[in-house]
């Protein structure tokens, strides 16, 4: 029997190692399920195109003149019946030509509407809530202004809503400008892992896929019930996902509903984006963890998964803490290496540090037939190191200030994804490669 109190480092090491092992198993279970598992949920692809409720697409935009025209043009090309489609652009206090461009489209197409928020600029959730007030659709979908959806994405996204228990849906985000820089390549890998394995496995295992704030949507009835987006939350998407689940609705993920995004291309932009996500996720964790444990709607598995999901941005901090504790223990020659702890830390380091997450991302790229990008797998380390410090800063800031900073802190989109030829002449996507039309055709 180990005397845990014999050394002050024993308990933190065991705690950190145990949490890491939990995440390791999560990664491995998801990866295996993506590889070999059969869906435990019904596939709704058969009703895609048959079930056609009235849909409202909300596009919040704040100074997006470089890209707003592209997504609106795409909206006019969608295959969903236009008499059942409503597109609402929420021009949130833009000082550039975003509003003018949107107005031009609204004059030409009667299903496109524009809301100009004079007192805008207070963030995406507030803009979306204003959009809901003017919406008439049964299903509300959201797209960011820099996104570029597949032509039949609406059919695919609304299909799961044929099931009355489904309250929200999420489609797949694919990076369009992966060749721009090392950072965009790393984001591509993260996105592939996050959607092709993580979200898909959660959907197949009847766990909780996450609405990611764009390329997805909700039943309007649900939004009315929970009061829409919470403007006080930085990660309003995660917050709404949790509130939907706590209200007894299901969230579904549709892997073949692809939408293309322009990823960040510099480390600075990467840091800012991840910092916001980390802070928002932690804010959600503090807000919802108690309700998750008490919820009657959730099974024990769902409670565990939702807890792990909400706490995911604490993980890099724990790794950093683990390193610090380990270094101190080693340098001061503290005898923490009792056999059980040695075994636990060895497994933890070997699995979390090298095996599970990287195997997950690698498997996703393998399943996606992305052979070349697999070679960049080791570069994910940079992102991993950065996240350890980024999440630590986010937690400290959140605890010290409790400041939501709910103004738009969105990433600047320059529209290079369109200008650099990632889309071919007819508007289809080239899979991150310039001017290779064959792959674009496959993705459509």
């Amino acid at each position: 029997m180990i005397d845990l109190l014999a050394n002050p480092f024993n308990i933190p090491i065991i705690l950190i190692s145990s949490i890491m092992v939990a995440y390791m198993f999560r990664h491995l279970i998801f990866t295996y399920y993506a590889l070999f598992g059969k869906p435990q949920q019904r596939a709704y692809s058969r009703v895609a195109g048959i079930y056609q409720p009235k849909v409202t697409v909300l596009i919040p935009a704040h100074n997006e003149e470089a890209v707003i025209g592209n997504i609106l043009q795409r909206m006019t090309e969608l295959t969903y019946p236009k008499d059942k489609l409503e597109v609402i652009v929420i021009d949130d206090g833009s000082v550039d030509k975003t509003g003018e461009i949107a107005d031009e489209f609204a004059e030409t197409y009667d299903y496109i509407k524009v809301i100009h928020r004079a007192n805008g600029g207070l963030g995406k959730p507030a803009a979306l809530n204003d959009g809901i007030k003017f919406s008439t659709g049964e299903i509300i979908l959201t797209f960011d202004a820099d996104y570029y959806p597949q032509l039949d994405i609406i059919e695919k996204l609304v299909a799961p809503f044929v099931d009355p228990e489904v309250g929200a849906v999420q489609g797949r985000v694919v990076v369009v400008n992966e060749e721009d820089s090392l950072v965009s390549k790393i984001v591509t890998l993260e996105r592939i892992g996050g959607y092709r394995v993580d979200q898909l496995a959660r959907d197949h295992l009847v766990l909780i896929p996450q609405y990611g704030g764009t390329v997805g949507g909700f039943r309007k009835e649900l939004l009315d019930k929970v009061g829409g987006w919470d403007p006080a939350m930085l990660a309003e998407d995660t917050d709404l996902t949790v509130r939907s689940i706590l209200n007894g609705y299901q969230v579904r993920y549709v892997n073949d509903a692809e939408c293309y995004e322009e990823a960040v291309t510099t480390w600075k932009a990467y840091w800012r984006q991840r910092y916001r996500w980390a802070k928002g996720h932690m804010q959600c964790a503090f807000k919802h963890l108690k309700s998750v444990f008490k919820s009657r709607h959730l099974s024990p598995y769902e409670k565990i998964e939702l807890t792990l999901l909400l706490c995911i941005y604490f993980m890099p901090i724990l790794v950093l803490a683990g390193w610090i504790v380990g270094v101190l223990a080693y340098l001061y020659e503290l005898k923490v290496t009792t056999p059980y702890i040695l075994l636990l830390t060895t497994i933890t380091y070997s699995t979390v540090g090298s095996f599970a997450p990287f195997f997950e991302v690698g498997t996703a790229a393998y399943l996606d037939r992305r052979r070349r990008i697999l070679w960049l797998l080791p570069f994910l380390t940079f992102a991993f190191f950065l996240m350890a410090f980024c999440c630590t800063k986010a937690l400290i800031d959140l605890l010290l200030t409790r400041d939501g900073n709910h103004r738009w802190t969105h990433t600047l989109h320059n529209g290079n994804g369109y200008r650099n030829g990632y889309f071919n002449g007819n508007g289809s996507h080239n899979g991150g490669r310039r001017n290779r039309k064959s792959r674009g055709a496959r993705l459509l």
Binding site: T31, L35, F36, G326, V327, Y330, L331, L342, T346, I347, Y349, S350, T351, G353, S354, F355, F358, F359, G362, T363, A365, Y366, R369, R371, R372, L374, W375, L376, L377, P378, L380, T381
Partner: protein, 113 residues
């Protein structure tokens, strides 16, 4: 192996099993059976990949051991302790993740051909 440190004292180095890299290589080989081993693709490619991975892992770890002893010889015992602690996870990370990438890339290529 005895090494004379800059401090003037001689110290004996013995490669313990937990510092040798064999534990990581064994875990890697074990997990590989249930990960890359289960992916679609030629068994021959998988075996070749596993042998190559084990070889690369051993080579990296031998290099690491040589390097930490060299650090002890040139910079003393304190530097040895720091480098020994930090280098092992870094070296292991490099070869393991790189070999994952190589393995899955080979298997995917095999399917495309």
């Amino acid at each position: 192996m005895y090494v004379k440190l800059p401090e003037g004292i001689s110290i004996g180095f013995k490669v313990l099993i937990e510092c040798s890299g064999l534990v990581t290589i064994s875990i890697f080989a074990f997990i590989s059976v249930f990960t890359v081993g289960l992916l679609r693709g030629s068994a021959l490619v998988k075996i070749a990949w596993l042998l190559l991975s084990v070889g690369v892992g051993m080579a990296w770890n031998i290099s690491r051991l040589i390097l930490v002893v060299a650090v002890a010889y040139n910079f003393g015992f304190s530097a040895f302790r720091v480098v020994h602690y930090f280098l092992a996870p870094f070296i292991d990370f490099l070869w393991i993740v790189s070999m994952w990438a190589v393995g899955m890339s080979w298997l995917r290529r095999g399917e495309e051909l």
